[in-house]
Amino acid sequence: MELVMALAIGILFGSGIWLILRPRSFQVLTGLLLMSYAVNLFIFTMGRLWIDRPPLTLGAHLPDPATVADPLPQALVLTAIVIGFATTALYLVMMIGSRGLTGTDHVDGREPDQ
């Protein structure tokens, strides 16, 4: 499990870096999305991997904290996901606005000199 998770984070992050370095604004947007998955998963795995141990205290007795997933990274990531949505929206609007203003979808607002 750990190996799969680590590889997945690495591949998502690498794809994200590649896209963020590209010249077209949509590529950067895609890169930001992929990178945010990678980072969210990374923060999430700081609480280690737990299967079938959600941080719920439903029973009559409180569970032993050592046997349940850590709720803190989860709460942090939940916040991050929602804020990520907001930044994506903002970036998208900047992207189409810049395209309308400058006539190009290059991240610098003008086509590179040929």
């Binding site: 896209l19 895609t30 737990w50 959600p54 941080p55 439903l58 996901i81 949505f85 998208l92």
Partner: protein, 970 residues
């Protein structure tokens, strides 16, 4: 009594705020407000005299930054009282004068607001009982004087003068701060009483010289002392009331005040004498000599101010107690005669339209009253007997004679020279009243309004009273002020007009006669009346040097920006990414040990799932340039896998949120895709990709691969180590008992970290409004205005139908009926997830997103126009209500005496439902829910509206579509 001090300082600031809000044509009301504020201040000051007059020190103290030993402290002793009176009395007269001086066209509220704020700052400086606080007020005077000097900001000289004054004095302020910090470090306290008592300690300290230099830099820049004097003449671009106020009694006197205030601590050393007295001598001679050759009346007064300030500085630098007495006395006298002279110059400017002494002549005939007043005040400035200037100058001559003893006459010669020059420029000033009147003035001069002259009359009467009867009029006040500085060292002195024939009197006579002779000679042989430049000194232009320095700094800065920075995004991103990848690699030395990869424990299904997820991510990276829709779908695939992973790994809340965000994001980007340009692959375009592009791609690929491997390695290294003891256990154990919920993640969000969530929904709201605002100005590129290719089809009837038509009678009829039927159920699902959120996976965020998706589905089905004619979702209001609910829930805790956002669980017994728990966090979560619905919908709807805004309807749309899109035809 102590609170009176606080009132004294705060009153002008309150007045300033009120004045700023008044209408721009309320000249009288503004002036009355400012006068009332100043008069009240004066009343308070007079009341305080009851205590201060007995030699007591009034203190006011409030805790401020106790941890740093800085409290808000006000302190009034004799010296502070004298300065307070000067600030307020001259302030009152200036306000009256300004009422008549300012034109009805000037924005007067701004003027009085700045003036009152400046007055407050100045009172703050003189009343500060704490050095740090003194610096704060000090900088505040720099700032407000900047605003006042630049009041006529449409004039370039005003802007330049203001900037120069501000740069010089604020830089001095920073030096002062450094000096004060060192001083506080030496003494161990910033409290003024402690600092004043620690003079011996400070003077013996190895850092004494540093303290002295820094504090002197602060004081000398503020008081326009050589070599920083150049800003003052340029500050004359200010309206004359401002000059009269700033350069007679206040701004420039702040530096003098500081030197007096710290005199007990810093003076009495060789260094003090060289630095302070040295600067004083240079300034005094330079200022008085240059003043003679000015042709602008205010310019002459500016240089004369510089020279008088130099005189006071020199007296302070001498370091003897009697010199201190003379310094305080001259500060006081200078304020009186200089204010009246500035006002007189302002009247002449106001009435004649010019201040140029090369043109002005014979004004006495048209304005005899003003003329008489100005001549008396000039005489005071020149040091003519029976006027106040004479007395303090006499003391100055006496002190300079004492310093040199019987052998060294250099000091005395310097003093007499200054006397000669000041007589000469005083004569030059009043020369405008004599001679044959000119006919070429811009305006025909006449006497100003009665009350505009009134402040000058008061001041001139003061000159005479002090000059003729110094004993009864100023003696007690002067003794009080001097005693508060010198304490036991206060010398015995008596203010008298006649001390018998002695050296000072001889010097006065020489100065008067010499000055007259000098002036006559200059007029006769040097064409003084028409001269433009100052002889000898005109080549040393401090202002030019300043402007050149500023210019060079600007050029240097742009050079640095050009070489160290770029506006292009890609290099910046590359740097960021390289740093992100490289710096951790450099920091981790040696590399951690990795556990041997174990494949056995992995679930094959999980691995397969991520195989798909990673394939999606890599494919998206590959396709994002030429196939945006495909890339979007692929990214969505990775998102789904991420969401499933959260579910798999015991994070149901995250899985739900990720899934909903994924949905909303996809719809959002789909809405945006339309406005991007078509992009064809090089193969389609038949062009060759150049080599350097491949080179760049390889470089980026390298960074990406190294970054990916690094991230994977880091994750693996962490995942194979046991988790350290975190704070998660606390939340797990106390969620139910203290937060009243069993879903720990939700309790964390709305209770333990409620404040954080509060900030988050605020950010969401701001982003939504920003998106909305940006889109209002959105102008699409012309080529994306046309209908997308997919929708232009002659055969397919759908292409000619509006979305509403398609859903109501077209090919979407079945799904239309079905999805409209589902809407209530989807909303119930949202409500269900919201209600159970505190105990089971769900909560405000997820529920809000589900609710938003339910409505988006309707939009997608039947189009914006149809949906909004059925139910208008006032998204702005949702955002506002959501934030208000969240805030009110937080504030509710105050009612019970708890901090913001403290939660409470109420246990209610309801019929039918039985006992239920209602935590206050529930209402907070409701706020989150409402805000999330509002923001999501606002963003999406604003974007969706871009396609239907009427003026952007693409050319050539069939009329049927336009009719169909109107709601009533459906």
């Amino acid at each position: 009594m102590p609170t009176l001090l606080l009132i004294l300082v705060l009153l002008p600031f309150v007045g300033s705020a009120v004045a700023a809000c008044m209408p721009s044509n309320a000249r009288n009301r503004e002036a009355i407000l400012a006068s009332v504020v100043t008069l009240s201040g004066l009343l308070v000051a007079v009341l305080l005299y009851l205590q201060v007059g007995n030699g007591e020190v009034v203190h006011y103290r409030a805790t401020w930054l106790s941890a740093y030993g800085v409290d808000f402290a006000l302190r009034m002793d004799g010296l502070a009282w004298v300065f307070v009176m000067m600030v307020l009395v001259i302030g009152l007269l200036v306000i009256l004068y300004a009422r008549y001086y300012m034109s009805p066209k000037d924005p007067v509220p701004r003027f009085f607001s700045f003036l009152l704020a400046f007055m407050g700052a100045m009172l703050g400086v003189v009343l500060s009982g704490n050095l740090i606080q003194l610096v704060v007020f000090w900088e505040l005077t720099s700032l407000t004087s900047f605003l006042l000097i630049g009041y006529w900001h449409h004039r370039i000289d005003a802007r330049r003068g203001a900037r120069m004054a501000f740069t010089v004095t604020a830089t001095g302020g920073l030096c002062l701060l450094s000096g004060v910090l060192i001083l506080g470090h030496i003494v161990g306290s910033y409290d003024l009483d402690a600092v004043l008592a620690a003079g011996d300690l400070v003077r013996a300290h190895p850092w004494y010289l540093a303290v002295l230099i820094f504090i002197a830099l602060g004081a000398l820049t503020k008081s326009a002392q050589f070599p920083f004097h150049f800003w003052l003449p340029h500050a004359m671009a200010a309206p004359t009331p401002v000059s009269a106020y700033l350069h007679s009694a206040t701004m420039v006197k702040a530096g003098i005040f500081l030197l007096m205030r710290l005199w007990p601590t810093l003076s009495g050393s060789q260094e003090w004498m060289w630095i302070i007295a040295g600067a004083g001598i240079c300034t005094m001679l330079l200022g008085s000599f240059t003043a003679i050759f000015q042709h602008d009346m205010k310019g002459l007064l500016a240089y004369s101010t510089i020279s008088h300030l130099g005189l006071i500085t020199l007296l302070l630098g001498l370091g003897t107690p009697l010199a201190m007495v003379a310094a305080v006395f001259h500060t006081f006298n200078h304020a009186i005669f200089k204010a009246s002279l500035f006002m007189a110059a302002g009247i002449i400017d106001h009435e004649c339209g010019t201040r140029d002494m090369r043109i002005l002549r014979g004004l006495y005939r048209q304005m005899p009253f003003t003329g008489t007043l100005a001549i008396v005040a000039s005489a005071a400035m020149a040091g003519v007997p029976l006027l106040n200037g004479f007395l303090s100058k006499e003391m100055f001559f006496a002190e300079t004679a004492l310093v040199g003893g019987t052998e060294d006459w250099s000091m005395s010669i310097v003093a007499v020279m200054m006397g000669i020059f000041s007589v000469a420029y005083s004569l030059r000033f009043i020369s405008v009243f004599f001679g044959k009147p000119t006919q070429t003035l811009p305006k025909m001069p006449q006497e100003p309004p009665r009350w505009m002259r009134f402040p000058i009359e008061i001041l001139v009467v003061l000159c005479l009273v002090v000059g003729i009867a110094p004993g009864p009029s100023v003696d007690p006040t002067l003794k009080l002020a001097v005693a508060s500085v010198l304490g036991e060292r206060t010398p015995a002195f008596s203010l008298q007009i006649w001390h018998g024939f002695n050296v000072p009197l001889l010097k006065s006579v020489i100065a008067l006669l010499g000055g007259i002779t000098f002036y006559v000679l200059l007029r006769k042989y040097f064409a003084l009346a028409t001269r433009d430049k100052t002889p000898l000194l005109s080549r040393f232009n401090g202002a030019q040097a300043f402007e050149t320095t500023i210019l060079r700094l600007g050029v240097g800065a742009s050079w640095l920006v050009k070489w160290l920075s770029t506006q292009r995004l890609q290099p910046q991103m590359l740097l960021l990414m390289v740093a992100l990848v490289g710096i951790p690699l450099l920091l981790v030395q040696p590399l951690p040990k990795f556990a041997k990869p174990v494949i056995a424990g992995s679930d094959a299904l999980f691995a397969l799932m991520w195989l798909i997820g990673c394939a999606c991510a890599v494919a998206a990276a590959w396709q994002a340039k030429y196939h945006r829709l495909a890339a979007l779908m692929l990214v969505g695939g990775t998102g789904i896998v991420t969401s499933l992973t959260f579910l798999w790994l015991s994070a149901p809340d995250l899985a739900l949120t990720q899934l909903m965000v994924e949905t909303v994001t996809t719809v959002l980007i789909l809405l945006g895709l339309r406005w991007l340009p078509p992009r064809l692959t090089p193969r389609e375009l038949n062009i060759q990709v150049p080599h350097r592009v491949w080179l760049r791609r390889s470089r980026d690929m390298l960074v990406a691969v190294v970054g990916g491997i690094g991230m994977a390695a880091l994750s693996y290294a962490i995942l194979t180590r046991p988790a350290p003891q975190g704070i998660g256990d606390f939340f797990l154990l106390s969620a139910l008992s203290e937060g009243g919920g069993s879903n720990v993640v939700n309790v964390l969000l709305v209770d333990f970290r409620g404040f954080d969530t509060m900030g988050e929904i605020t950010v969401l709201a701001i982003v939504a409004l920003t998106v909305y605002a940006l889109l209002r100005r959105f102008r699409p590129a012309p080529e994306s205005m046309a209908i997308p290719v997919q929708r232009v089809n002659d055969v397919d009837p759908v292409a000619r139908q509006a979305p509403a038509q398609q859903a109501n009678s077209g090919y979407l009829l079945v799904s239309g009926v079905y999805l409209r039927f589902l809407l209530p159920f989807m909303i119930i699902v949202a409500v269900y997830f919201f209600l159970r959120g505190h105990n089971l996976p769900g909560g405000g965020f997820v529920a809000g997103l589900i609710f938003a998706v339910a409505i988006i589905v309707q939009y997608m089905l039947a189009g914006t126009v149809w949906v909004e004619s059925r139910f208008g979702l006032r998204t702005h209001l949702w955002i506002a209500y959501g934030l208000v609910i969240a805030c009110l829930t937080g504030l509710g805790a105050f009612l019970f005496g708890y901090p913001f956002l403290t939660s409470h669980t109420a246990r209610l017994h309801l019929p039918l439902l039985g006992e239920i728990h209602v935590p206050s966090a529930f209402f907070f979560d409701l706020g989150v829910f409402v805000t999330v619905v509002g923001t999501t919908m606002l963003i999406l709807v604003a974007l969706a509206h871009q396609s239907v805004r009427s003026h952007r309807l693409p050319q050539g749309v069939p009329p049927a579509t336009q009719i169909a899109s109107a709601p009533e035809t459906i």
